[in-house]
């Protein structure tokens, strides 16, 4: 977690939006990161990231007072927040970070907010206190059972959908595979499900099309049309393939921390087990 001074972004940002940053003007890659929180008075924003590639690794090595060479935002369409009744917010891994302002907004709009946090293990559960402060009901799941329930987030999500009345809306943010299965879980119940996609991006202004995804058979640009889309319409398989497209090269650029990949594979295995 990192707090960055960015007064303009802090002032303008709305839940659901993200920034793109770059650490080296000439050769650095530009990576999108969601804004977890902002303090317009202090003029700062909070970013939460996981060290998965060269840039995030270098980001983690920055110390207080260091400068980020390039930071642009806020980008993307803000979350559409309104009072609908009961909203279930599902966050997986660092997906909890971008979920935080959305959950906060949903609560302020007068919704009953149920929050599900999923992580591989206890140490990876983030923002628990801040989420607890918002939630009417908080459920924590870990894959290894070291904290909360030993389950995947889809298990409590399914139970919530079976309740009467069922939730009016679900917001799921996390690894693509998690969002995919959350969408599959809610589909039979017809509960509208919003997901926030983290595709590969370059400019973040609609110029390159690198962030495109297939939604309901149509090509959409995550950076200008999203990042949030109807989870029931997103072609997650295509998204996951596109996200993996540069894996090989990135590995060459940096000894990759395999956490997220492992997490995805693990979830896929377990989900398959669950369903059989």
């Amino acid at each position: 977690m990192m707090t960055v001074r960015a007064p303009l972004i802090a002032e303008e940002r709305k839940p659901g939006q993200f920034v793109i940053l770059q650490l080296d003007d000439n050769f650095g890659e530009r990576i999108p990161l969601t804004i977890a929180d902002a303090d317009p008075v202090e003029g700062s924003i909070t970013l939460v990231f996981q060290t998965v590639g060269k840039t995030t690794h270098r980001l983690a090595l920055l110390s207080e007072g260091d400068k980020i060479e390039n930071l642009v935002g806020p980008l993307g369409q803000p979350t559409h927040i309104e009072k609908v009744g009961t909203v279930v917010c599902v966050g997986g891994g660092i997906g909890v970070a971008p979920l935080h302002p959305i959950a906060q907004g949903m609560k302020r709009a007068g919704n009953r907010v149920v929050i599900i946090i999923g992580a591989r293990t206890k140490d990876l559960v983030i923002l628990e206190d801040r989420m607890r402060a918002i939630a009417d009901e908080l459920i924590i799941c870990t894959d290894d059972g070291s904290y909360g329930r030993k389950a995947l987030v889809t298990a409590p999500l399914k139970e919530l959908c079976e309740r009467d009345p069922k939730p009016d809306m679900v917001v799921a943010i996390g690894p693509p595979i998690m969002m995919k299965f959350c969408a599959e879980t809610t589909r039979p119940f017809g509960v509208p499900t919003v997901v926030s996609l983290n595709s590969i991006m370059i400019d973040g202004t609609g110029m390159c099309g690198g962030c495109r995804v297939t939604v309901g058979g149509q090509t959409k640009f995550t950076c200008v049309d999203g990042p949030e889309f109807d989870g029931h319409l997103v072609d997650f398989d295509n998204l996951m393939k596109r996200l993996g497209a540069y894996k090989k090269q990135e590995d060459m650029a940096h000894e990759k921390c395999h956490l997220e990949m492992e997490m995805e594979m693990e979830m896929e295995k377990r989900n398959l087990k669950l369903e059989t």
Binding site: D25, F27, E29, G73, I202, V224
Partner: protein
């Protein structure tokens, strides 16, 4: 045609020039027309296809003066009519013939801010050189006076030989102007408005200014240091540059006026959004928009393998869809990134190709294969979602369409496959939606282009626009021209 080295071309030019120069003002039109049109020295195709240095090397002094002697100094100057910004072409060419290069650049700069850029990228064969009397008399537009190459010559001469004077700026007026985007339209506005003493801030979404000239047009066609110098000049004039600033997101357009106190705004945000064809397989891995491909290569420097963090997929066989400058650039960049084979698929014929003729010729020399009257039908992939090939259809030319070009008609049942591992889509851009999404009071047409009057005024008082965001994907010179017009109107608006 065998490749002639720069030295050979220079030696040939020197021979002619030695004979003609003593009588330079007494030459008869016939003698002028007998001077061979000067070929542009270029890097050897076999070498340049694997490097990113500039392809066209520029005339030598001898070649430039000899080429200038070909100009007939026509009284009616049809070339000026052909120039979108009406440069006094006969006068600047005459100055070259006289060996007064400073005078020559000064004449050009009265109408154009970026001669080193325009000399390189303008489609001269359909602008100033198209109506040239010499070309007409010799019945070959390729034999017209090479005005663009001469323009480039004097602009380069100035950059390399002269200490650069920072243009004079009038005393501060206390008025503030926001310029959004930093492409050619915006750079002109910044310069012209700043000269009048108004404070100017350029807001650019990317981390580097210059617009398409930086992230789109590749180094081998337009060296980045040339664009950078124009930006340094603006900075020296006191123009403030704010990169990483997306107007419409970081700040709403109208907030710049109401919250930040700007008195006028120019919107020059370009033709952002790449078009796709909406065919099957378009989102497979290995399908890129040309914008993405070129941005990865130019701005993020993917060609410096090992240094750059932004990867680009190494491809064996690349298919590029389209026939404009963007398609040519993408194809030639693919070659330089190591592709074994590059194929350009275009649905009309070479005559209809919107690309500059010189680029098409250079591309062919570099070994790029052209497939004309063909078009993609669908893109095929493997189980991992990676491109494996593209299915194309053959076309023939039918009746002329609205643009006056004959419409390509598909030949039923003519499907065939080209095996490939990358597809680059270069079929044009739609306008960027960001500002219009967050500024509903800004009027746009059905393509999303901002609507302006003849002075560049939009539907919001004090807000002006120009360049590709108004014209749709057009050219550097037209963007500059619109910038000029808008700047004039802004200066008048602020004075009033």
């Amino acid at each position: 045609m065998s490749h002639k080295s720069a030295e050979q071309l220079n030696a040939e030019a020197r021979k002619h020039l030695d004979a003609l120069l003593p009588r330079k003002d007494a030459l008869k039109p016939k003698e002028r027309m007998a001077i061979p049109a000067q070929e542009m020295p270029a890097q050897d195709p076999a070498e340049r296809r694997r490097n990113v240095s500039e392809v066209a090397l520029g005339y030598s002094q001898e070649q430039a003066r000899l080429e200038a002697l070909r100009c007939l100094q026509c009284k009616n100057a049809p070339c000026i009519e052909g120039c979108p910004v009406r440069i006094d072409i006969p006068a600047f060419v005459k100055a070259i013939a006289d060996g007064d290069y400073q005078k020559s650049v000064d004449i050009i700069k009265r109408n154009s801010l970026l001669p080193a850029v325009c000399g390189r990228v303008c489609p001269q064969e359909v602008q100033c050189q198209a109506p040239c009397t010499v070309g007409k008399a010799l019945k070959d537009v390729d034999k017209a006076v090479n005005i663009g190459r001469l323009e480039r010559y004097v602009a380069d001469w100035e950059r390399e030989n002269q200490s650069f004077d920072v243009p004079a700026v009038k005393p501060e007026t206390g008025k503030k102007v926001a310029v959004i985007g930093s492409g050619p339209a915006s750079l002109v506005v910044a310069a012209d408005v700043r000269r009048e003493g108004h404070a100017v801030t350029i807001f650019e979404a990317f981390h580097k200014p210059g617009g398409v000239m930086i992230y789109g047009i590749p180094e081998f066609r337009l060296p980045k240091k040339i664009v950078q110098m124009e930006i340094d000049t603006l900075a020296a004039m006191g123009v403030e540059l704010r990169t990483n600033y997306v107007v419409g997101r970081t700040r709403k357009l109208t907030d710049l006026m109401t919250k930040d106190g700007y008195h006028a705004i120019f919107v020059g945000t370009g033709a952002g959004l790449p078009k796709f064809m909406n065919i099957e397989g378009e989102n497979l891995i290995g399908v890129f928009s040309a914008n993405e491909y070129l941005t990865r290569a130019n701005l993020m420097k993917a060609y410096e393998v090992g240094k750059a963090d932004t990867p680009i997929m190494p491809s064996r066989k690349v298919v590029v869809l389209g026939g404009g400058n963007v398609a040519m650039d993408a194809a030639r960049v693919a070659l330089r990134l190591g592709a074994g084979e590059v194929h350009v698929v275009y649905r009309r014929t070479e005559v209809e190709m919107p690309a500059r003729v010189e680029e098409v010729r250079h591309a062919k020399e570099e070994g790029i294969e052209f497939h004309l009257l063909q078009n993609a039908k669908r893109i095929l992939g493997d189980e991992y979602g990676r491109v494996t090939g593209i299915e194309c259809l053959r076309y023939e030319l039918g009746e002329p369409d609205a643009s006056g070009r004959r419409r390509p008609v598909e030949l039923k049942g003519s499907e065939f496959m080209i095996e490939c591992d990358a597809v680059i889509v270069a079929i044009g851009n739609d306008s960027n939606p960001l500002i219009k999404q967050t500024t509903p009071e800004l009027n746009v047409n059905k393509w999303g282009h901002i609507i302006v009057d003849e002075n560049g005024r939009t539907s919001i008082p004090g807000v002006y626009a120009g360049g590709d965001i108004v014209l749709g994907a057009a050219t550097v010179i037209l963007a500059m021209g619109q910038g000029r017009t808008a700047a004039k109107a802004i200066n008048e608006y602020l004075a009033g």
